[in-house]
Every structure is written in C-alpha cells, then in structure tokens.
Symmetry: C2
C-alpha cells in the first residue's frame, strides 16, 4: 500500500476498494482533508480557514461544481476518489458512503486542506518516533479551550493532535514542522496539557488514547478536525467531509511542502 | 512618522492627511495591500490567492459589507483608513481618492494581503541593506514570464520585486524570509533575471529603476502587485485597491509574522 502511486490509490478508491485508513498509503505524497459546502456558505468557511491557518491550511479550493483539482493531481474526481465520505445534514452525520456521486450538487465548493500525515512522514524520516504509528493506532486528538474567531455560521474551539516526543526530539520537531505551514506548521503547544484546557490526556475526544511514558513531552499541533467541528457546529443543511482517516491522496510531493 | 502608533497612522489617513507613502511609517507593524471586489467575484479572487500564496498571502478576508477588520487592528474603517485608493472600472483605473465612503457597496469583500515592508524591516534589522530604501526610492518590480493558474476571470503573470543583495547577505535573507510566509515568504528566484523572463533590470514595469552595482546578486520575491494586475486583467465592473505605496497600517507586530 505504501508503494501505490497516488493515482492508483485514487483509482482504488474509485473502484470502492475497502480499506481502514489511507495512513501509510503512497508514502512520499501529501494527503488532503476534504470539506465540501454549498457555495452559499463557501465564503464564510473560506474566511474561517484564513482566520485559523494552522488548523485549516488550504492546498486548493475548487470553483462551484468543479470535481477535479488539477493543481493537486491528475484526473482527480472528488465525487469518487476518497475511500469514504460523511454526509452531514443540519450538523449531524447522516451516513458514510464510498461515493458522493448521488449527492453531488452543482453549487458544491470543495476545500482541500493540508493533513498531518505529511509532517509525520517528515518527522519519521528524520528519526523521530511517532508513538501512535508504532502502536498501529490513530493519533489522539483533543478539544482545547481556545475559542476560535467565528466567520459567519462557522465557529468552535481549536482541536489539536498530540504526539508524545522524547525530549531530545522536540527541537528538531519544531524546526522540521515550522517550514511545513501548508500542513499545520509548527506545534501550537508543548508540555502541560492543562494550559490549553486538556485535563485528561488518556481521554482524547477523537482518535485512540495514547500510551504515555515518563519523560516524554506531549507536543500538540493544530488539527484539521477543527474544520469538521466547525461544520457540525454550523448546522448548515448539507456538507460533506472525508470519513475519518480516509483522505484524498494527492500528487503533491511531501518534501516540496517544506518550500512552498 | 516611524514612531506613529498604527492607530494614529490610520486616524491620520482618515483625516485625509497627505503623504507620499506609508513606507517607513509605524515601524515594527505590518502593513497590508488591499483589494476590494464585489461578492460575485470574491470566491474566484480568493481562489486565485490560494493558488498563488507567495504572491497573494492573506492576512484577513472580510465578509460582504464588513468595513472593520478586528483581527488586524482596533477600529479599522477600510473606507477611510488608507491614504489613497484606486477605483478601477472594467480594468481601468478611473481615479485616485483619499476615501471610498462614497463608493462603498454592501456587497464589497475586502482582501487584506501581506506586504513586503514587513520582511524588509526584518532584513534591515539583521543588517541587510535595502538599496531602494537607502536611495529613497520605490522598490523595482517586474512582470515575469511565469504564467499563473487562472481562477475564474482572474489571471496573469507573476510580478516580482527585486533587491540587489551583497552575496554575503543572500543566505541570511533566505533564512529570514522563509519563516515569513504571510508576507510573501522566501525569494522565488536569485541570480540571472532572464531565467524568469526579465531582460532589462534597469527598466522595471513598476517602481523605480535600481542602482545596480557589480558583485550584487539580484534577489526576487513574489509581489502583491500580482493581485492588482489580476484585477486589471479581469476587467470586472468595479474593484478598489490601495494606491501604490499607500497601504493599510495594521496592529500586527512584524516580528510575530515569523511565527504565524
């Protein structure tokens, strides 16, 4: 799976191949979180992203009705090229689907949002252990007490992902991710979780509980789930997101994200 | 002028105080390029910016009709707080005005775009000479042969600004500006201008001709004038930009732009 070309990964999704997650797929290439909203809500959602660039870094935004994304990859069809979608109506996830061809509207605007898989790969390539990947789990994610500036109907609190790092790796992790601002950039917090309103690291709101070890420093990055929470909070009539862990595999080379 | 608070700088503009440029005003604070378009064109202009983040880094985007910009400064009124505006109709600059209160439309969306003044200040604070500032001139700007990906009616070629740097300063200049991605980021080209379609450095399309000295390396950054050219090219019925050199002075601390 790690050696699949990005295009083949998308074709597999298009053919409804079942997988648990795209994590580890097509190593070396960036994946994207997806949020689709009707044009009526697109400007405000766009503004929400610009207000919170660490949580919502944009790789591409489509025009209304556009199903391709030429700057992200050849022959992308956003209606079929994810392994799973959530259809969300009035703030509630109505169902998961492997295609949204039947739900597509000509006024849909698609937001392609940078994903932490890119910086995780860069950290690992520099010898930094990612505990959740070693354990075969999802990264733990937490709702913080940092209230975000609303944009129209979109509001919420910052969601962060946490990786417990060896102290010797923390400086390097900051340096590496600082240059990757299109995939969440530098950490937003290092150390005491209570300072950002997290009172129990063992009970993340999303993902799997981490295996914590003495002497590790919890290191928090802004997380794309922030945008999904803003979608739920908005209660807009319809929106579509990727299903958790099932991202769009793009043709963007991860290493290039250090220089964009 | 360099010690004016940002708020006082804006109040002076609001009182129609006449100045030649905001360059050097309120040192330590970021200034913003301004582009205002009707909501009908806002999504496409926004997409053009996302496609070209080095030329069009966004500090804030308003909702339709919003005249303030709370995340950029206290009590901003974009209709009056610039020292000069260009009103552009059908792709032609119709007039320059010191206020746009009489032209305001409730469907106007305002784009606040990062400005090179921020990184110039950072470069100078690290001992790097800015030749055009020493000479009391405008930075030279050039139309390159790099065609930009269009978004709706917005298209054009990349415009760059050029600073001739001593070779010993070039590495440092790349390092400093790499972390300032919200104000154009790292250079897009260093050295031979013909490689980006510039055939006569002494004849810039915008700004003043540079004083060139042997042994200096021409260093090119993506320039906010790119967005203005896209506005002219679009020939949309109405748009408003800042008049050249007359930016919005914001409350954003320049030094913070290294970490955003």
């Amino acid at each position: 799976m790690q050696h699949l070309s990005p295009r083949q990964a998308r074709l597999n999704a298009r053919a409804n191949q079942t997988i648990a997650t795209t994590s580890g797929m097509s190593l070396g290439y960036a994946q994207a979180n997806i949020v689709i909203v009707p044009k009526e809500y697109a400007l405000d959602f766009y503004r929400f992203c610009t207000l919170h660039p660490k949580a919502c870094p944009l790789l591409y935004v489509s025009e209304a009705g556009e199903t391709s994304a030429a700057s992200l990859g050849e022959d992308i069809d956003i209606r079929t090229d994810l392994h799973g979608y959530h259809i969300i109506r009035n703030g509630t996830a109505e169902l998961e689907s492997s295609s949204i061809a039947d739900y597509w509207q000509d006024d849909f605007v698609t937001f392609y949002i940078g994903c932490s898989f890119s910086f995780e790969e860069s950290l690992m390539s520099h010898g930094i252990n990612m505990p959740h990947i070693t354990a075969g789990q999802n990264v733990p994610m937490y709702l913080t007490d940092r209230e975000l500036t609303p944009a129209g109907v979109f509001s919420g609190h910052l969601v962060v992902s946490m990786r417990a790092l060896a102290s010797r790796d923390v400086v390097k992790a900051v340096q590496i991710t600082s240059s990757m601002h299109r995939v969440h950039g530098a950490p937003v917090h290092i150390g005491d979780p209570t300072q950002i309103g997290i009172h129990n690291l063992e009970a993340p709101e999303f993902g799997d509980p981490p295996a914590l070890t003495d002497g590790m420093l919890p290191t928090f990055w802004a997380c794309g789930v922030t945008t999904q929470q803003a979608i739920y909070n908005s209660k807009i009539p319809i929106a579509i997101t990727h299903a958790p862990g099932k991202m769009l595999v793009t043709d963007i080379v991860n290493a290039d994200l250090h220089f964009s």
